[in-house]
């Protein structure tokens, strides 16, 4: 291949519609990431693929925009005192092992059951994890909301913190002291999920909150450190294989850096349970979206009989509902910020 021309099998021709779509999804994804620590990837990858970008290039380009976005978000939230760098690095180390395990499992499934089997595994993981974890987070968020936004430490975290199992780690920023052995499964599961559904934060943030006892605000901000470390490693790997389309990365980054800063600012306006609420709403809608996509893979594996027309409609509904998940999260964040702004103004007037 002439290196001065693009390989058309890997790189698409960009048009105004595609650029606008990527910029807007980048902005909304950034807004959600800045607020809950993750999100956006589950729409961006299929979104890029719907524009004709090959799957591997879409995954690589998505990851390459994710780590600088996470870096900017982490720095912003560090300034607000919300990031526990030590915790982020400890979690990222065990997450890296989880990623390798996740990739290995994917490879085994791919060899045994082919692409449809792998897609079914990914979708089932999506549905199972998001329904279970998302449902639990939602229940807790509603309980917090009913009690006036007061956040309590989960009973499991309290029990684990009380167990003196060396080596004990103290995370001063988060205000917790816990055995290394209890941080490892959370980091490992985060990496596994990141390698499977590309959004490790959906288990990393709830894991830090409910297993380790990290405050929700701190967990969502620390997730950005994990995303940065894992994203940087993954991006270097993909870039060495020449799979990153820098044009797509920069367009998405243009929108997401605007969004991630706004999302980070938003965390200072809302009560803590709103972070859980946004995360739970997005997780549950995405679970429904992936559930709708399941028949396609079951048909490919010969386990179900559905006409191609119906599958086409289901595919569109599935993608539409993923976009809806992101959009709903963004609306809740902006609405909460708006309310928080009004409350801050009232407070300022009251003090004047």
């Amino acid at each position: 291949m002439d290196i001065l021309t693009l390989d058309p099998t890997k790189f698409i021709d960009l048009n105004a519609t595609g650029v606008c779509f990527l910029f807007i999804v980048g902005f909304i994804g950034g807004l959600v990431s800045g607020f809950i620590g993750s999100g956006g990837a589950f729409v961006l990858t299929p979104g890029m693929m719907s524009l004709g970008v090959p799957g591997t290039v879409a995954v690589a380009s998505n990851m390459c925009h994710k780590f600088p976005k996470a870096l900017v978000g982490a720095i912003k939230r560090f300034r607000y005192g919300q990031v526990d760098v030590k915790l982020g690095l400890v979690m990222a180390a065990s997450a890296a092992v989880g990623v390798q395990m996740g990739i290995r499992i994917q490879q085994v499934i791919l060899e045994k059951w082919g692409q449809a089997g792998s897609d079914l595994y990914v979708s089932l993981s999506f549905v199972a994890v998001l329904v279970l974890v998302g449902g639990y987070v939602m229940r807790d968020a509603l309980r917090c909301a009913r009690s006036g936004g007061v956040e309590t430490t989960a009973p499991l975290a309290l029990r684990l913190q009380a167990i003196e199992l060396p080596p004990m780690l103290t995370f001063r920023r988060s205000g917790i002291r816990i055995s290394l052995w209890f941080t490892l499964p959370v980091g490992f599961a985060t990496g596994m999920l990141a390698a499977t559904i590309a959004v490790g934060g959906f288990i990393g943030v709830p894991g830090m909150i409910y297993v380790m006892g990290v405050p929700g605000l701190m967990a969502s901000a620390t997730e950005l450190v994990i995303a940065f470390v894992m994203g940087l490693g993954g991006s270097i790997n993909w870039a060495m294989h020449g799979m990153v389309d820098i044009r797509l990365v920069l367009i998405i980054l243009g929108g997401s850096l605007l969004g991630v800063q706004l999302g980070a600012i938003g965390t200072t306006y809302v009560r803590e349970h709103m972070i859980k609420m946004v995360m739970a709403v997005i997780m549950l809608i995405v679970a429904v979206s992936r559930g709708i996509a399941l028949p396609r893979y079951l048909v490919q594996l010969g386990l179900m009989d559905v006409s191609p027309e119906v599958l086409g409609v289901l595919g569109k509904i599935s993608f539409g509902s993923m976009c809806l998940a992101l959009l709903t999260g963004a609306v809740i964040i902006l609405g909460s910020m708006w309310k928080g702004r009004a409350a801050a103004r009232e407070e300022a007037h009251g003090q004047a």
Partner: protein, 107 residues
């Protein structure tokens, strides 16, 4: 959204805005050539990584200052430590975290 008046960073916003626009114009003027070179992999992997770091600094500074100029700023110090904290209290943690206190924060 700021709750107190502070000097807005117009200068930084304009400087980083121009730099950001120049970087985007520079890359997209030769987008296909640059993308093709970076797609060679191996040592060329440094290209996209260095590029996104540069853009994240320049465009990140621009966007951060832009929100400040638009009056969208953080309003309170959101982080607080739960009462479960620290070495000495690890075995006798409190179960309720106080609501985060409000304070003005310009960042």
């Amino acid at each position: 959204m700021a709750t107190q008046t502070a000097r807005k960073p117009w200068g930084k916003t304009i400087v980083f805005g121009i730099l950001s626009a120049a970087l985007y114009a520079g890359v997209f003027a030769f987008a296909d050539t640059i993308a093709a070179h970076f797609a060679q992999g191996s040592y060329w992997a440094a290209g996209p990584i260095a590029t996104v770091f540069l853009f994240s600094y320049v465009h990140g500074e621009f966007t951060g200052n832009l929100w400040s100029v638009l009056g969208v700023e953080a309003t309170r110090k959101a982080a607080r430590k739960p009462e479960t904290a620290t070495t000495s209290t690890a075995t006798k943690p409190a179960t309720v975290r106080p609501a985060a206190r409000r304070a003005t924060l310009n960042a």
